[in-house]
Amino acid sequence: MAKYIGKRLLYMIISLWMIVTATFFFMRIAPGNPFASEKKLPPEIEANLNAHFGLDKPWYAQYWEYLVRIVNWDFGPSFKYKSQTVNDLINEGFPVSFLLGMEAIFIAVAIGVLLGIIAALKHNRWPDYTAMIIAVLGISVPSFIMASFLQYFLAIKMGIFPVARWETFMHSVLPALALASTPMAFIARLTRSSMLEVLANDYIKTAKSKGLSSGVITVKHTIRNALLPVVTYMGPLTAGILTGSFVIEKIFGIPGLGAHFVTSINNRDYTVIMGVTVFYSILLLVSILLVDIAYGIIDPRIKLAGGKKGE
């Protein structure tokens, strides 16, 4: 197990290095620079600024400096917000995004799995059709449209939830729902098809032939096996929630990392873009690793390579 995790960590570092390098060079070839604005800056000032941020040095020196800084968990200053470092932005924005993301993941998994199970157990009857209509809607309606719908009906028309901002728990419900709708629908369909597959399996017949009640069979034999594919989906789910949060945070005016990220792209705020990209990459790589480890624990057939057998 330790050996397996060590190996995975090494791969993670290599992937991260490639991501850092790629972002670094993409940023350089992207047109425009952070100080471009309507007002042309006097050349002396621009030179000064470039010197201040080290932009006057040759690319390999900048690249090396950047690598060294990232290893030290220092993403440098923001180009645009003079008094803030990228680390400040992450420390400030991430807790908000994390809370929103967790809430969305919880909704997506809990409701998605529940819908999927109900649909499969009532296969080809009205609960199945209802759940699948919800699922098709959730998959086909993009999250930003879902967000506007929710804002219009639940906030403006019915006044159940606040329209935007980030203050109380009630403020987080609509953005979390909007963020969760697509993955929730996907999980519902995944759970349903996986449940149906498991239900058709011989071992369900075996369980029945032992005289177990259908409740026990559903809980002990069906759901556990049916949820394995859902666990695998947790990796892509995290990625989906991360990228989805960019738009949703913007729409709901939530001061999260996603909103900062979008702003910094508009501002060509190099260091913020690179820093947040690297941070997101780490987050994603770690969550994929966690999912794989969890899968190995849940499914006894998967022996994490390098682990001792029969433990």
């Binding site: 399996n201 011989d202 071992y203 017949k205 075996t206 369980a207 029945k208 032939s209 032992k210 005289g211 177990l212 009640s213 259908s214 002990k220 034999h221 556990r224 096996n225 394995l228 849940i298 499914d299 006894p300 057939r301 029969g310």
Partner: protein, 355 residues
Amino acid sequence: MEKLLEIKNLEVSFQTYGGTVKAVRGVSFDLHKGETLAIVGESGSGKSVTSQSIMKLIPMPPGHISGGQILLNGDDIVPKTEKQMEKIRGKEISMIFQDPMTSLNPTMKIGNQITEGLIKHQNMSKQDAKNRAIELLRLVGIPMPEKRVNQYPHEFSGGMRQRAMIAIALAANPKLLIADEPTTALDVTIQAQILELMKDLQSKMDTSIIFITHDLGVVANVADRVAVMYAGQIVEMGTVDEIFYDPRHPYTWGLLASMPSVDSDHSADLAAIPGTPPDLTNPPKGDAFAARNSYALAIDFEEEPPMFQISETHFAKTWLLHPDAPKVEPPEAVKKRIRQLSSTFEKPVLVKEGK
């Protein structure tokens, strides 16, 4: 001998998009305590549906027991509810399925798969059930059962899994064990071991067994009696000797002729039965086997044959046994094995409907 199971005129059908599939069309047979009955027939002849009906395990819907009775110790189980069936399944009747690779839950320890039934039917404590599971694993010939009980199915070979499956089935001492092609998915040497084990366990535990197979070759070793099934009906039934040495139905002849035997020197004679079984959505008029039967008479395409009785224990459903039927010779491969059996009646007797 006491009758454990009595099946009378069982009919099972499936509602499908293509129409109603009449999978079992009037099957009747008895099973005595401690007896082994083999049900033989090509794939699709309704063996699994018949046996799963006995436990009411066929999926309903689309499946439906549309007629007949299944008497277990004289008590009809057809009208029983699911709740009532739960008390019979595993306790009175158990089942072993064909493919040991798929019939065990991959994410549950073997031990727990055995103890589940024990805890339910015998109110055992967890610890007692586990000890019993270890004992059962030892009984079915699994080495190091104390260690194996905590392992998962994927850590077992195919043969070992089928042994574990047998342990699960026998856990609560059922009176009837149904084995649906238990060795078909295994290779030959393992097959022999599993058959040996089943015989051994039967003599120890005195269970009745319904042994389903499409391979007549394994029947002689395990069964007391044989029922030959074709297109949802039993077409011939008798003791092992009667079926092997005095078969009367052309379909049984076909099965015997296509069976490789140790003593057969010209293996070129091996002939599979030509054609395929009929579509059971619209069973043909007359005898379902007529289209594939080189001995078919004109009446075979018109009217279904009745059951004739050849001895106290031997029945066959073919017009060939009718007194007016022409005398026909079975194929060479079958003729060689035919012996005069002392119990045979002088003349086949027509069995009256509603026997």
